[in-house]
């Protein structure tokens, strides 16, 4: 599971960085979104991966799923969602005001 998880995070991050380096605003927004997915999964994994663990500590239980990274991920998802919405609106505004979706406002 760890290997699959880390490969998934790696692929998401690599695709995110690749798209972030594109010159059009839409791929850049997609790249930021993929990057934030990768980061969110990564944060989630910081609490160690476990299946079927209870969320509370109790005697006689094998362990517990760490709730803190889940809270962090939740916060990060909310912030990331707001930021994505904002950057999409900004990209649309830039497209309308500059007449092109190139990130520099003009195609080279």
């Amino acid at each position: 599971m760890e290997a699959m998880f880390s490969i998934l995070i790696g692929v998401l991050t690599a695709s995110g960085v690749y798209l972030l380096l594109r010159a059009q605003t839409f791929p850049v927004v997609l790249g930021l979104t993929l990057l934030s997915y990768g980061v969110n999964l990564y944060l989630f994994a910081a609490g160690r991966l476990a299946i079927g663990r209870p969320p509370v500590i109790g005697a006689g239980l094998p362990g517990y799923a760490d709730p803190l990274p889940q809270a962090l991920v939740l916060t990060a998802i909310v912030i990331g969602f707001a930021m994505t919405a904002f950057v999409i609106m900004l990209a649309l505004k830039a497209r309308a005001e500059m007449g092109t979706d190139h990130v520099d406002g003009e195609a080279p």
């Binding site: 990057l35 944060l43 994994a45 910081a46 160690r48 962090l72 950057v87 900004l90 005001e97």
Partner: protein, 501 residues
């Protein structure tokens, strides 16, 4: 447990929410309410400065959860110092914005208060994840403020600013996740304890996390290879917003100082001195790049933005030296450079408004209305920013150079800071003479006198730097006390983790 440690966060948050509810109200009422909120923050910062003057570190545990488990706000001398600078700067920036900028778009006053909410929170928070959250709050508000007023140039600069900061936020989250995964805590004081005993097989990831964190703070403070976003953003933003943004780079510098004194300064820990080899050379490079940019700038706003980069360079040289005297010099230089740069941004608007179509381009043009007064204020700004005697810029640089003598690389530091002073002098002399002296050669129409840009706020900011100059001994003693407290991280750790009620 002290409510004073959380009040500077709650006041702007509540004021912002109330302003959102009052959006249909009379403009004068909203302006008065915004100014009232900022004035209350000035008073709160003064109260905090007084409460921490004895060396006490105030903490407020949210929901009364004890420290490493709950969220904690910590107010020490450094936090109070930063809060006071922010609140004073915001007061004058808001005063300036009330002369017309705030009606150019919607929700200016709400965004302004939320910006202060983010800034104050970043200075007071005691854990890494909340530092991230407050960074996001202040960035999101600053996106709105940078774009306020509209226009294609502003949108383009804003797009770059937003995207680079979102990428930076992702890196911040990765660093925070790595810290939590390795140490099981995000509380700065708790992390500081755990830093001394990193197991050997975790050392690599721990150093990676720490350097990632440093990279993020370097991006926020516009350190050398990561400074490219700053000039366009600051130069295109409206004058009061650019003035308020002058504190934003200092947030990055604050975070570097806080983290390096708390986490990377243990007696003989495995992480001690991790960022030292990077910080000082990069800071010196930043100083030079900023001043070369100021020398090459073709508009006054660009020049002011590059001077902000140069001031970050000077500040981080002081923090990079890391000795008590150097940190004290840096903390004295910090308010000086912030206030002087903000005053220059505010003056720039007035100068640009008086020159018609030429705006702030550095070319000979018509006489500016009230040129003697505006010119005198510009001259004062230039003396401050170039670091000439007898004003606070000179005192700050002199203290820095004095502190640098103890460092083995002192010839380099002295050479670069002094060369920087010369470059700054040339750059500002060039723009001053082009803007104010060559106007006699101008053959076109006379300048327009339709400027509504007030001079009061800029004069007020310059007045504050004069206070910093005339009572330099008192402020330096304050700065030295802050440095003393920072170099004894065990005080911070004890205040947060236990003992103190």
């Amino acid at each position: 447990m002290s409510d004073l440690a959380i009040a500077p966060v709650l006041v702007p948050l509540l004021a912002g929410i109330l302003l959102l509810l009052f959006r249909g109200r009379d403009l004068r009422e909203r302006r008065a309410f915004g100014l009232l909120s900022v004035s209350v923050q000035v008073l709160l910062a003064l109260a905090l400065l007084d409460a921490t003057a004895s060396g006490a570190i105030l903490t407020h545990a949210l929901g009364n959860w004890p420290a490493p488990f709950g969220i904690v706000m910590v107010a020490d001398r450094l936090a109070a110092w930063m809060l006071l600078i922010t609140a004073l700067l915001a007061l004058f920036a808001l005063w300036h914005a009330c002369h017309g900028l705030d009606v150019q778009g919607r929700h200016f006053h709400v965004l302004f208060q939320l910006q202060l909410f983010g800034l104050n929170g970043a200075f007071l928070t005691g854990d890494l994840f909340n530092l991230f959250v407050f960074f996001e709050v202040l960035l999101l508000a600053s996106y709105g403020l940078v774009l306020h007023g509209g226009g294609p140039a502003r949108t383009k600069a804003g797009l770059h600013y937003v995207v680079i900061n979102l990428a930076g936020s992702s890196l911040f989250l990765i660093a925070a996740g790595l810290f939590y995964g390795l140490f099981g805590s995000l509380n700065l004081a708790h992390l500081a304890l755990l830093m001394d005993q990193v197991p050997a097989d975790n050392l690599g990831p721990a150093r990676t996390a720490a350097l990632l964190l440093f990279g993020v703070f370097a991006l926020k403070s516009a350190l050398l290879p990561l400074h490219l976003w700053l000039p366009a953003t600051y130069a295109r933003a409206s004058a009061p917003v650019a003035a308020l943004l002058a504190i934003m780079t200092k947030v990055g510098a604050y975070a570097i100082l806080r983290v390096s004194t708390l986490l990377f300064s243990g007696p003989a820990g495995t992480m001690t001195g991790l960022i030292d080899p990077w910080l000082l050379p990069l800071a010196m490079g930043t100083l030079l790049v900023g001043l070369l940019g100021a020398l090459a700038a073709r508009r006054l706003t660009d020049q002011a933005a590059y001077l902000v980069i140069a001031s970050v360079g000077t500040l981080l040289i002081a923090f990079g030296l890391g000795s008590r005297d150097a940190i004290a010099a840096g903390l004295y230089y910090l308010p000086h450079s912030t206030l002087a740069a903000a005053a220059l941004f505010l003056l720039t608007e007035r100068i640009a408004a008086g020159r018609g179509a030429l705006a702030d381009r550095l070319e000979p043009g018509p006489d500016i209305p009230a040129a003697p007064l505006v010119g005198a204020l510009f001259f004062l700004c230039a003396i401050l920013l170039a670091g000439l005697p007898p004003l606070s810029g000179f005192i700050g640089k002199f203290l820095l150079l004095q502190a640098a003598m103890a460092h083995p690389g002192w010839p380099w530091i002295l050479g670069i800071v002094l060369l920087g002073g010369l470059l700054g002098l040339i750059a500002l002399a060039r723009s001053g003479s082009l803007l104010f002296f060559r106007s006699a050669a101008w053959t076109g129409s006379a300048g327009v006198a339709t400027s509504s840009s007030p001079l009061g706020p800029a004069i007020g900011l310059l007045g504050l730097t004069l206070i910093l100059t005339f009572w330099a001994g008192y402020w330096l003693a304050q700065a030295t006390a802050i440095a003393d407290q920072l170099l004894q991280p065990q005080l911070y750790i004890r205040a947060v983790l236990g003992g103190q009620p």
